[in-house]
Subunit: 120 residues, 2 copies
């Protein structure tokens, strides 16, 4: 018997923790890397728009970039979905704000403040 | 010529980053470990009191405990001073609040909330 054909849209799914399995420590770890923090800041600035991985021009190799996105996804900070062969990334703001009210905003504000301070 | 005698109090000093060298990424990394987050929560609950390392009953070896305190100190989250042979630890709340207003409080609130949620 032939195996089932993949869905016509060609959609593959990636593993994400459900909201109740997201842990503060994992979120803080995900945000503690400069590259990952940059990604999160850009996603936050994009509001609810989903951005492809190639949108981010990180000064690291492709495999390192993939690693960073995986850490963000597996910690529950971002959601990644395939559209064809492109991975689209969106911030899980609803989940994070529900679990840890004010946390994401305070990290984003701190990152902005630090950037301004170091540029001065 | 003889070298200068150590201070009569026997105080040794430990290296701490000055306020302007504290980085958000380092602070988030320091807070991303469950043991270190526990230490920070206890120090925050102690207000301005300084607590000795032995005050903390962490379920890890002494050398791992020492490592965690060093990460907290080197990231600028805590200040450690020797009183005789005892290391006393205090939260650098003034520095953290000045650099990243609201960040520490939002992490502490998130940790409390998560603890309550997981205990429920």
């Amino acid at each position: 018997m032939p195996t089932a054909a993949p869905p016509a849209t060609g959609t593959r799914t990636l593993a994400h923790p459900p909201r109740e399995e997201i842990r503060l420590e994992g979120v803080l770890h995900a945000l503690s890397d400069p590259m990952r923090l940059t990604v999160v800041r850009e996603l936050a600035a994009a509001r609810s728009a989903e951005l492809s991985c190639s949108h981010f021009d990180l000064p690291v190799t492709k495999s390192t970039t993939t690693h960073h996105f995986r850490v963000l996804r597996e910690s529950g900070v971002i959601r990644q979905v395939y559209r064809g062969t492109t991975k689209l990334n969106g911030l899980r703001r609803d989940d994070l704000d529900a679990l840890f009210p004010g946390l994401l905003d305070s990290v984003l504000a701190a990152a902005r403040r630090q950037q301004e301070r170091l540029a001065a």
